[in-house]
């Protein structure tokens, strides 16, 4: 299975360190507006939601690119923009249903998460609560399922 950034929203504290570390590594500046991962804070609802590119198996951004600048690497599974081929037409930006690829004014290119190209993703390395992990297995999903299972178990009577 493919290694992906796995997100456990229950562990997030809304510190936006992921946005800071991502932008610092990839742009040289602490600029959340240019981060490739997004941490949104909803205080009254007590919810913190973190989202980033899911490296789709059949990426809409890839399909839509008229210059074939976007490709999915078969070995790593990472969907990457080739800056040499990208002409900045923003078709991919329209195509991605999740808003996870964007156009950057200063470079004139499309920009998205590439899982830090083989290094440990910087957001994972800096996340203070291990809300973010890089894993083949979707452990947060299994934990969520197990919470449900345990609730069912506790409600089960012996017959």
């Amino acid at each position: 299975m493919q290694k992906l950034i796995r997100i456990d929203p229950a562990k997030c504290v809304g510190c936006k360190t992921c946005e800071l570390s991502c932008s610092f590594k990839n742009t040289g500046e602490f600029a959340p507006s240019r981060s490739r991962i997004y941490n949104e804070v909803f205080i009254e609802e007590a919810k913190f939601i973190t989202v980033t590119c899911m490296q789709c198996d059949e990426p809409w951004c890839e399909k839509s690119c008229p210059k074939n600048a976007i490709s999915k690497d078969m070995a790593s599974g990472v969907v990457t923009v080739d800056d040499v081929k990208c002409v900045g037409c923003r078709t991919c930006v329209s195509a991605c249903p999740f808003g996870m690829i964007k156009y950057v004014d200063s470079t004139g290119k499309a920009d998205k998460c590439n899982l830090c190209a083989g290094d440990t993703p910087e957001c994972v390395a800096f996340c203070p609560t291990q809300c973010l992990t890089l894993d083949e297995e979707d452990k947060p999903l299994r934990q969520k399922m197990l919470r449900f299972v345990n609730a069912m178990k506790d409600g089960q009577m012996e017959v």
């Binding site: 504290v13 510190c15 360190t17 500046e29 602490f30 007590a46």
Partner: protein, 355 residues
Amino acid sequence: MNKAWQGKLLRVDLAAGTCNVEALNEEWANNYIGGRGLGSKYFTEEVSPEVEPMSPENKLIMATGPLTGTYGAANGRYMVITKSPLTGTIACSNSGGYFPSELKYAGFDMIIFEGKSEHPVYLQVRDGKAELVGAVHLWGMSSNDTEEAILSEFHGDAKVACIGPAGEIGVHFACVINDKHRAAGRSGVGMVMGSKNLKAVAVRGTGGVQVADPKAYREAALDSYGVLKENPVTGEGLPALGTAVLVNVMNQNGGLPTRNAQSGTFDKAEDISGEALVAGELRRVKSCMGCIISCGRVTKITDPRYAGEGEGPEYETLWALGAACGISDMPAILQRIRHGPHLPRFDNRLCHGAV
């Protein structure tokens, strides 16, 4: 100049209604450490010691430091520097949240407010530009409602620092509230802001903060995380129990101000402790921008007498509105810090003095 400074300050003349961008004084920025150091230097150079806190000649400075907007140990803070109406001397009240970093991303290290506006106004800052706009429609609103209104009329991603009714009507311990639940609480800086007819500052910034040596900075930040995580207070106490961790600690040491400080121990301290909060009202722990300590508490009161939700309490809330008043009813204490149309934002610690 240190690369992490943006090198610009915003000077807002409230009487004239003008906003001017100035270069930061490089010599001062190098010689006076951080937002507090530099802001205090500007203040003492520009404001005479004889100026009355409530006079238009008093200035109000919102200052960030070079590290604000970066990751590392508790960096996302700003200072509100002015002459305090409480003490008559220089005040330096600070707060975290997301507003301070946003000010850096908008390209400014500092805002200096001068004079007094004739009518209520608020400041809109957007990527290096700023303008004063009317705030008559916001005057009288709670800090929460003010922020909501500004987000809908200015920019949904803006970060807001504002005053509620306490600052407007001149309560001596009024706060400047940012991001709804973070407070520059000490010294009554909200009262000075109100005296200038300045309701709020709203900032939207999409720029970035650079550092001189990114590789070394990254290592230093990771080191600082190590220090914070190994320390029992910042590594265990604050993340687990928030600043409320201090209730039991202070009580055990005889330093919990109880029944108007007649005693240093409260027999019902357990009921208003960080531990009680975790067992009862706590929903989530929360951090400020770039901080890994996560001492913020998002709480919900299910008790039908006081049902509500939001952020807090801090240790100050619990001793000032709890132990010091002889109250051990946690929902009742929390209800006091909840937002509502008629609940002004006070410094909890000083509010107790008035109670």
